[in-house]
Point group: C2
Chain length 135, copies 2
């Protein structure tokens, strides 16, 4: 469906991570169905409901490792809370202010012109566009 093999142990190994039971359980929750935005707390609640519960520390570890391995992208939209996005393709975000909901939109149609060149001695890493909306 999403072009990713459902063989999570293999996917983890390919990313340089040992396919432990906990990491496989988390990967399943994250990547099995379409794209998702999760917080550590939220994912921990989900995985606790599973036959294979995982400690909160491990959820944090796994999210950070998945991000470092390029399997996830971290999105910072609100102070004091990190979202992890399973969509690692080019795209931007809607952030619905009052309730903290986050939605992707593709960057295909979006063009940004006139950006200044990066300060001397730095090179571009990524351009984040966050469209904040209110009800």
């Amino acid at each position: 469906m999403n072009g990713n093999s459902p063989d999570f142990p293999a996917r983890l190994r390919a990313a340089g991570l040992r396919p432990t039971r906990q990491r496989v359980a988390l990967a399943r929750l994250l990547f099995e169905s379409g794209h998702r935005h999760v917080t550590a707390e939220g994912l921990h609640v989900e995985v606790k409901a599973t036959r294979m519960p995982v400690s909160l520390a491990t959820v944090y570890n796994a999210l950070n490792q998945f991000r470092d391995a390029g399997l996830l992208r971290e999105v910072v939209v609100a102070p004091g809370r990190s979202y992890f996005d399973t969509n690692i393709g080019h795209h931007h975000h809607f952030f619905i202010e009052p309730d903290g909901e986050l939605h992707d939109f593709p960057s295909d149609k979006v063009t940004i012109a006139g950006l200044p060149t990066p300060p001397k001695g730095t090179r571009l890493s990524r351009v984040d566009v966050i469209v904040r909306v209110r009800r």
Copy 2:
């Protein structure tokens, strides 16, 4: 220089805030010289070096009130740390990843085309563009 009156008590009153000694001291640090990006901790260190030190709680209170009053803008770039920007005009940000430095750039020249329309029932609040760069 920046078009703002240096009469901080009056400016605070105009924003609906009592010009207490502490708020005036903070306003002076924030608005007296050009635009700045500060964190609560950083501003607290600065004001402690003053003849009129202010508690950390008051720094947090003041930053939140100044933001609510439209004197400051909060910028969310990194998890677990809030920056406040004294530049409230239209502009975007460079974020230098390793060291957490933040720089403004004007939005005059920047054009963003092809943004999708906000989800039904919401209206646009603001578009943040963060250009992340690495050394």
